[in-house]
């Protein structure tokens, strides 16, 4: 069996593996397979190798793959945590001379998932919260304008015995700070103002509705 013949059949999308005598009568491929067909043992071995790899990789992905490092073989822990009695959403607003803006992950140059994590940490006291706010101040200064006022707003949702108590609770201003002039040596790379697709953003739409 020539390698060229196998490669040709593979590229044409035809089976390159021909099963052995035990499948005679079951196989009714109308393809013009030559009698000098590939060894059935090799064919089975290749197919089963792919199968075993797929199963083993999925097991490894489930055991070790938290964080997607083994993609496309992943762990599936979606919605596995227990419900809590409350949860909070945050939104970052920037007030410039031209008006108010809801800050998106795109504006800050941060992937969506990390942006949501960053928002949760911005209201915190201590060094971690300070670092996050300083970073945001630098990026906002570049993406919007230095001196812009940055506000972190938060809404607290309460879960009662019958479920969500209020789907539209009031928003509270948690933090206010100013965008600082960017340091060209240390500033994070911001993406600047880009056309934003709303499907990438949370929809609280709090910014611009005035302080409460």
């Amino acid at each position: 069996m020539s390698t060229g013949f196998l490669l040709d059949r593979f590229c044409q999308g035809l089976p390159v593996i021909v099963v052995g005598d035990e499948w005679k009568g079951k196989l009714s491929m109308n393809e013009s397979l030559p009698p000098r067909s590939v060894s059935s043992r090799t064919g089975r071995t290749l197919a089963l190798a792919v199968v075993i790899f797929g199963i083993a990789a999925q097991i490894a992905g489930i055991a070790l793959g938290a964080g997607g490092q083994f993609w496309p073989f992943l762990r599936y822990p979606m919605y596995a945590t227990v419900g809590e009695s409350e949860f909070r959403h945050q939104e970052l607003c920037v007030f410039t001379e031209t008006g108010s803006h809801s800050v998106s992950a795109w504006d800050l140059g941060i992937p969506t998932f990390r942006y949501l994590g960053l928002l949760r940490g911005l209201g915190a006291d201590g060094p971690a919260g300070d670092r996050g706010r300083a970073r945001v101040a630098l990026v906002v200064a570049r993406a919007f304008e230095p001196g812009a006022r940055i506000e972190l707003w938060e809404a607290a949702y309460e879960m009662g015995p019958e479920g969500l108590v209020d789907a539209k609770p009031g928003w509270d201003r948690m933090r206010v700070w100013e965008a600082e002039g960017p340091d060209p040596q240390t500033e994070p790379q911001a993406s600047g103002r880009r056309p934003i697709s709303s499907r990438h953003l949370p929809r609280s739409g709090q910014c611009g509705s005035g302080s409460r």
Partner: protein, 529 residues
């Protein structure tokens, strides 16, 4: 049913081996691995393992052992699942390799190709499908590529798929996006064999792995990516493709006859379907056991599902979810149902009659998640049933017996007729067509109301009630019964189509005679060669 070296006893070999492996694994993870980890933690034993424990100064040994035990339990449960599935197969009389290499209809694999590749093409061209695949959006890929370097942590898959490239830039990503579109277009129509499919699989995987390297993890893309590789490696172009149409036409010419491909089967159409079904089963099963491992029995409390719906619905502004989250009393039973679907989905692999029910339930669950939470498991909705086509056909025939379909009469000695029949068969996704050769003597016996000479002149279609359709009306009847031709129905049924349609058909039929049909064609009272 037995297969390769599968006697009545040998089919139990696989479950026995897997069971033995499971026992060895439990022994390792229960007694031997903890000892090794403890020694490495204290600076003894394997230096490499000790090096991996970089947080030893602030993380206690108990946490390392806890992680080991949890991950060991995950693997044990997965191995246990495999043991049970293999036991189920053995109990059904399937040999060790039967579930993987017993010949299966190549059309089933071709359907997976069309759906998986077509879905990817849709995601690439219409990224407006909300969040279904951010990685398919070239704007978003470009955005990620413009982020600061510290945001980029390439995952293993990206290093393998793009060897030697430290960090792909926007131009390279756009080129990969274009190659993905081209590969998907050719892959959907089945032109060019495996090469376009391999390009589509590679470029899709690269785009997703690139997004993952920036922390954008989305579960729906994973099994879709695997499915693309499987259809690229297996002979998925053997049906419903331009390649198969051309090949079958050529073979029919060479052999001076057409033989329907409905029964075309290949062992290499089986293993990709079984593997994809098994991966779906493992991921659903994992989702079920993660709920037990992380949430425990508390997960089944009435507030859990309402809480998750409320968090997502309020964040993304989803009205149905917000409404349901405020009426969470009904969500307790839904928690059990969702978990039950995930936990028992593997039964679809061993119980044929359960497969359609479990597939329908899984699709309903994903649609519910999409409508109420927002995460769009579009890939799962479209792909989860594909590995179980055979089981679903069997259930359909059992519960909803179908009528025979449409019989198409054709001239088995006419090149153009054979080409037409091959084209119809290629488009016949629902498998409703049967083909009757005019040269076959059975015609007069089975359909006496059709005149053979008349049938040579015009296309004839006989429906399941015995009604004979001729010429343009036969084509229109075919279009009605073939989903692939439904886009043309408005034109075929437009006002005055019954007047102009037959005339256009006759015009084409007259040209047909000049293109090589060997018969004299009687059209509108005249004879043309």
């Amino acid at each position: 049913m037995t297969g390769w070296r599968d006697g009545p006893r040998s089919r139990w070999v696989l479950p026995a081996c897997l069971g033995g492996f499971l026992l060895v694994w439990i022994l390792l993870v229960g007694w031997i691995f903890p000892e090794i980890v403890a020694r490495a933690y204290s600076g003894e034993g394997f230096e490499r393992l000790g090096g991996l424990m970089s947080g030893r100064d602030r993380i206690g040994l108990d946490e390392y052992l806890g992680d080991l035990a949890t991950n060991g339990l995950r693997v044990s449960l997965m191995l246990g699942l495999l043991v049970l599935i293999s036991l189920g197969w053995a109990a059904k009389g399937l040999g060790v390799t039967d579930p993987w290499l017993e010949p299966a209809p190549v059309r089933d694999l071709a359907v997976v190709r069309v759906v998986a590749v077509g879905l990817q093409l849709g995601l690439l061209l219409w990224p407006g499908v909300p969040n279904a695949s951010l990685s398919a959006d070239p704007t978003y890929s470009g955005f990620l590529a413009s982020l600061s370097t510290d945001a980029y942590q390439p995952i293993l898959a990206l290093k393998i798929l793009l060897p030697g490239i430290a960090r792909p830039g926007p131009d390279l990503l756009l080129a990969i996006w274009f190659s993905c579109v081209a590969g998907c277009v050719l892959g959907v129509i089945g032109l060019g064999g495996r090469i376009p499919l391999l390009i589509a699989a590679w470029s899709t995987s690269t785009l997703v792995a690139h997004a993952y390297s920036y922390g954008e993890y989305h579960h729906p893309e994973a099994l879709h990516g695997v499915a693309l590789w499987l259809v690229a490696l297996a002979p998925s172009c053997a049906a419903f493709s331009i390649d198969s149409f051309r090949r079958r036409t050529r073979l029919a010419r060479m052999s001076s006859g057409f033989s329907p491909s409905a029964a075309l089967r290949s062992p290499h159409a089986r293993w990709p379907l079984t593997l994809l079904g098994l991966l779906f089963a493992m991921t659903y099963f994992d989702a079920a056991i993660e709920k037990l491992l992380i949430g425990g029995v508390s997960w089944f409390g009435s507030g859990t599902l309402g809480y998750h719906i409320a968090v997502d619905a309020t964040r993304w502004g989803i009205s149905p979810g917000m409404w349901l989250a405020q009426h969470a009393g009904a969500l307790g039973p839904m928690s059990y149902m969702a978990w039950g679907i995930e936990f028992f989905f593997p039964l679809a692999l061993v119980l044929s009659l359960a497969a359609p029910i479990l597939v329908a339930a899984a699709i309903a669950m994903h649609v519910g998640i999409w409508v109420l939470h927002g995460p769009p498991f579009l890939q799962h909705i479209l792909l989860v049933g594909l590995p179980f086509q055979q089981q679903m056909r069997a259930a359909r025939d059992r519960w909803f017996p179908r009528r025979t379909g449409l019989r198409v009469l054709y001239d088995g000695h006419c090149d153009l007729c054979i080409r037409s029949v091959c084209a119809l068969e290629t488009l016949d996704v629902s498998g409703r067509l049967a083909f009757v050769d005019l040269e076959d003597g059975a015609l007069a016996r089975e359909i006496p109301e059709v005149d053979r000479i008349d049938a040579v002149s015009w296309m004839h279609v006989v429906d399941d009630r015995g009604t004979v359709w001729r010429g343009f009306f036969a084509f229109r009847r075919l279009a009605r019964g073939m989903p692939a031709l439904w886009p043309g129905l408005p034109l075929l049924y437009a006002p005055l189509s019954g007047h102009f349609g037959p005339r256009i058909y006759d015009l084409v039929a007259r040209r047909r005679s000049r293109r090589g049909c060997r018969v004299h064609v009687q059209v509108a009272g005249r004879s043309d060669l």
